[in-house]
């Protein structure tokens, strides 16, 4: 983000972020919603239009940059975090975003992802997790559930899935959040939060692929099942969920359990209270594992946000410090430095 924002100048609208390209996703694809929400939130961030950059790999979701009227680079499969890293380190004043899929980021791009997290590079990584390879027409992905039947696993896949938030936490990401393509308000909020985080921001979007994995998240988005299937994380609030707000999540040792608030035994006071800013990653790790546990609701929201200096700042600061100490580099002096001798 630019250091100085001339607020007068920045009067942007959704339209300013719509490129002249037809959007080519399948009708009904969850990607449309992400695009729409991004285009809603971006004008409000106080960042100059020309300072936004979208970097992508390959996949349906990776075509995102073409549809945003910002600077954009549609790269190669899996490498978006690495490309974005170079750009951000070279140009720390830009707001650099990565759109990526579960194959792009979790399969071929896994290494760049975990290293971007580790280094705390100030990137905003939006994972469109549809638990399938869309663009290559329906193979299971590293986030597909075990036993999934797809074109490349006609008898069911044998792989255990990654849980992206778990992997992000294992890689020390400083901002980890999750949202739903269908919950447009929440999606907008999460995009804003990611934008505002200083450091690597990992946002997992549960995104429906209507063609190859339709209904993967219907439990979380259908009115009927939603209240009992997900839990909305709110900072400072106890972990309550259920159609009648009558269930809660309590810690038993370090294991979360669901309790009935009407059982006469448990009350709101027993519940885990969410703290987004908890320095310890353990809390977020617990949330993350709730996802995998069929007995537990799936958490949606900001799992964690902590602040520590970013890599790109660090690079700039080091250059600043060394230059302050040594003076700005003088090429002539450099050439003639070291053991020299004269030939007359």
């Amino acid at each position: 983000m630019t250091d100085k924002i001339d607020v007068e100048e920045v009067k942007l609208t959704t339209k300013d972020f719509q490129s002249n390209q037809d959007v080519r996703w399948c009708p009904g694809c969850g990607d449309y919603s992400v695009l729409a929400q991004v285009q809603k939130v971006f004008p409000t961030l106080g960042i100059r239009k020309e300072d936004f950059v979208w970097i992508a790999g390959i996949g349906c979701s990776s075509r995102f940059p073409y549809y945003m009227d910002t600077y954009g680079l549609h790269g190669i499969h899996g490498r978006a975090p690495a490309i974005a890293t170079g750009l951000k380190v070279a140009r720390p004043e830009l707001s650099v975003w990565v759109s990526t899929g579960d194959g792009d980021l979790m399969s071929i791009g896994g290494n760049h992802f975990i290293h971007a997290c580790r280094k705390n590079i100030d990137l905003k990584i939006i994972l469109f997790n549809n638990k399938i390879y869309g663009l290559t027409k329906g193979q299971y992905s590293p986030t597909s559930e075990k036993g999934k039947i797809t074109k490349s696993s006609p008898y069911g896949s044998i792989d255990y899935p990654f849980n992206p938030t778990t992997l992000a936490l294992g890689s020390e990401a400083t901002f980890v959040a999750r949202t739903l393509d269908r919950d447009t308000k929440h999606l907008q909020e999460m995009i804003r939060r990611a934008a505002e985080h200083k450091g690597v921001a990992f946002l997992e979007v549960y995104q429906n692929c209507v063609i190859f994995n339709d209904g993967a998240y219907s439990d979380y988005t259908d009115k009927e099942t939603k209240p009992d299937s997900i839990i909305m994380l709110e900072h400072g609030e106890p972990l309550i969920f259920g159609k009648n707000f009558d269930k809660g999540v309590m810690l038993n040792g370090f294991n979360p359990v669901v309790v009935d608030l009407n059982d006469g035994v448990h009350s709101v006071n027993d519940l885990l209270v969410h703290d987004e800013f908890d320095e310890s990653p353990v809390r977020a790790f617990i949330y993350s594992h709730m996802t995998d546990d069929p007995k537990m609701p799936t958490p949606i929201g900001v799992f964690r946000q902590i602040l520590k200096p970013t890599y790109d700042q660090g690079v700039a600061a080091q250059i600043h410090d060394v230059t302050a100490k040594k003076g700005e580099g003088d090429l002539e002096a450099l050439l003639f430095s070291g053991n020299t001798w004269e030939v007359e």
């Binding site: 073409y66 945003m68 890293t85 170079g86 140009r91």
Partner: protein, 618 residues
């Protein structure tokens, strides 16, 4: 070889000498060699060096595979190679002797640390009997010196730990060599004092060891003669000794200054390219950003990101790393972004001979990508030439908005030579325009060179998208149109071809037409020059040229080739340039190929020349 007397010792004047310092990896041979080179260069000799070390970090003491060597060739006229065969071998142990005596000339000098020739070391070196005692070395002049014990004796008052005392024995050897070649101790002493300014014991130890070695030569009866090599007649100027990797690094910084663009390096360590990363990471006050990436793919990908962002973006690697960068190189060429890929070639394939040299990657650089994917390929011919070719690679990348691969190799990267330092104002500026005018902006518009405009993020009104899918010419929209693809493939090829208009023509040394041309590329230049000079001395009429631009070739190459009856192409590979020459010019070049992990030997090339000229060797 003139003679003179000094201190009762005869002084022989030599034209040039090749010395090999060899010992265990821990014996400090690289340092010894470097010091000797620096002093020699300082005295005004021309020289060329070749470090040769094992791929183990500290291979077990005394083993054959653990021998570390530093070869140095210096002389009073131009020196182009580290020497085919050695005149003087300094062997710190039996293994060092065994490995290197093969390359010592008949009647050559061996100075060895006799203390190290004990039963254990002899066994490790697989000697059945002590070569200092049997007559296996009778073809050489052998000088056994108890270097270890003399060093221990000399250093007893410095207060060093015993380990550090014996470690100083390389300085004894160095001192002795200074005496032998009539060189002063002062430059090395000065270096020691500066380097260890806070460690008086070490200064004491090194100084004493060095001087003891020197006086040992002076005072013992062992050596009947000393040697002196007259100053070379080098062009006037300020010189320093420079290795190829250092020259590449400084060349890139120069390109950054000359173009006014910030320098970004995305790299992953790999022998023998890592030193470029090391060097560049020192120059933070030049605004250089170095990113040690998680792997080679991230190295180049980050450089692509930085290039998109407007930096002069670089990635550095060696063979296996270049292989990993192929997909992303294809992306850069599709994006039409400037990028410099430095590849320091080593012995392949696969992990191969990681610390050895080879011209291994020319074909990979030319063709190692999916689809029709031409990139520019240039090569440096010597350590100091790396400086100029790094600038040149940057210039071409920026002017034509393409990836450029700069090929150096393990030999010129690690080897060093005296370099007449240029002044900044002698270097040509690199003109770069980054687009700022939004009017009529099209991301894949074309200038007169077919380059597209470089519009960097942060520039208002120029928001646009680029990507690896085929793009419509001019507009840059994603396009699957058949005719557009055909056109774009041709444009990308033409853009590289267009560089012929700015790169220099090939210069032929010797007659401009005739019976035989010896045509090399890159790092074999020194060996070829020496071979050709030698052949000429022997009365053969032979011309010579060295290619630095390979894709595209210089404009006049076809004409040059047509002027000679025969063309020998010596390569440190199976004939990669030869393939390209045959393809492009349909000439039946004569190949000369060795893959030994070492620079080509001049005398073998001379033999080849003689053979081709029909035994006109006199």
């Amino acid at each position: 070889m003139a003679q003179e007397e000094k201190n009762g010792k005869e002084i022989k004047h030599l034209n040039d000498v090749t010395v090999m310092f060899a010992g265990d990896s821990g014996d400090g041979m690289q340092l010894t060699g470097t010091q000797f080179s620096d002093t020699t260069a300082y005295l005004g000799n021309d020289l060329s060096t070749l470090p040769d070390y094992p791929s183990e970090i500290r291979a077990p003491l005394g083993t054959l595979y653990g021998v570390s060597g530093f070869q140095l060739h210096f002389g009073s006229s131009s020196v182009f190679t580290p020497g085919d065969i050695t005149d003087v071998l300094v062997a710190m142990n039996p293994a060092a002797l065994k490995v290197n005596v093969k390359n010592l000339k008949q009647r050559g000098i061996i100075i060895c640390n006799s203390d190290a020739f004990d039963a254990k070391n002899l066994k490790l070196a697989k000697y059945d009997s002590n070569p200092l005692e049997d007559d296996s070395l009778s073809g050489y002049k052998v000088f056994p010196v108890p270097i270890t014990s003399l060093t221990v004796e000399a250093l007893k008052d410095c207060g060093l730990k015993p380990k550090d005392v014996t470690r100083s024995k390389n300085f004894f050897a160095l001192g002795l060599m200074y005496w032998l070649f009539n060189e002063p101790l002062e430059p090395t002493l000065e270096w020691v004092r500066k380097k260890f300014s806070k460690k008086v014991e070490i200064i004491c130890g090194n100084e004493k060891a060095l001087k003891s070695g020197y006086y040992y030569g002076e005072n013992t009866e062992l050596f009947a003669s000393r040697y002196k090599i007259a100053k070379a007649t080098l062009p006037k100027g300020t010189y320093k000794s420079i290795s190829g990797n250092e020259a590449t690094a400084i060349g890139l910084i120069a390109a950054s200054k000359l173009s006014g663009l910030p320098l970004f390096l995305g790299s992953y360590p790999i022998t023998p390219a890592t030193d470029i990363l090391h060097h560049l990471s020192k120059y933070k006050n030049f605004g250089v950003k170095t990113l040690q990436a998680e792997d080679e793919i991230a190295g180049i990908s980050s450089a692509i990101g930085a290039s998109f962002g407007g930096s002069l973006a670089i990635t550095t690697t060696s063979g296996p790393g270049l292989a990993l960068k192929t997909e992303a190189t294809g992306l850069a060429l599709m994006l039409e972004l400037p990028l410099v890929i430095v590849n320091v070639q080593r012995g392949g394939p696969s992990t191969g001979l990681p610390t050895k040299t080879e011209q291994s990657d020319l074909l990979q650089a030319m063709y190692g990508r999916s689809g029709e994917s031409p990139v520019a390929v240039v090569a440096a011919t010597s350590p100091s030439d790396c400086f100029y070719m790094a600038i040149e690679a940057s210039r071409l990348a920026l002017k034509y908005m393409v990836p450029v691969i700069l090929l150096t190799d393990g030999y010129i990267a690690n080897g060093a030579e005296p370099w007449k330092i240029p002044h900044v104002n002698e270097l040509e500026k690199i003109e770069v325009t980054q687009r700022t005018n939004p009017e009529n902006f099209h991301p894949y518009d074309r200038d007169e060179n077919l380059a597209r405009p470089w519009a960097v993020p942060g520039t208002p009104g120029l928001e646009h998208r680029i990507g690896g899918l085929e793009k419509e010419n001019i507009t840059g929209a994603v396009s699957h149109d058949p005719e557009n693809h055909d056109l774009m493939v041709r444009i990308r090829a033409q853009k590289i071809q267009n560089m012929q208009n700015t790169i220099p023509e090939l210069v032929v040394d010797g007659d401009q037409s005739g019976e035989l041309l010896v045509l090399g590329w890159g790092g074999t230049m020194g060996s070829i020059i020496e071979a050709v000079n030698d052949a000429r001395k022997k009365g053969m009429n032979v011309s010579r040229a060295q290619l630095k631009y390979i894709n595209p070739f210089p404009k006049n190459l076809g004409e040059v080739l047509s002027k000679f009856d025969k063309v020998i192409v010596p390569e440190n590979n199976m004939g990669q340039l030869a393939k390209i020459l045959r393809d492009q010019f349909l000439v039946p070049v004569i190949q000369f190929n060795k893959m030994r992990g070492l620079p080509l030997k001049s005398f073998e090339i001379t033999e080849k020349i003689a053979e081709v000229l029909g035994g006109k060797n006199d």
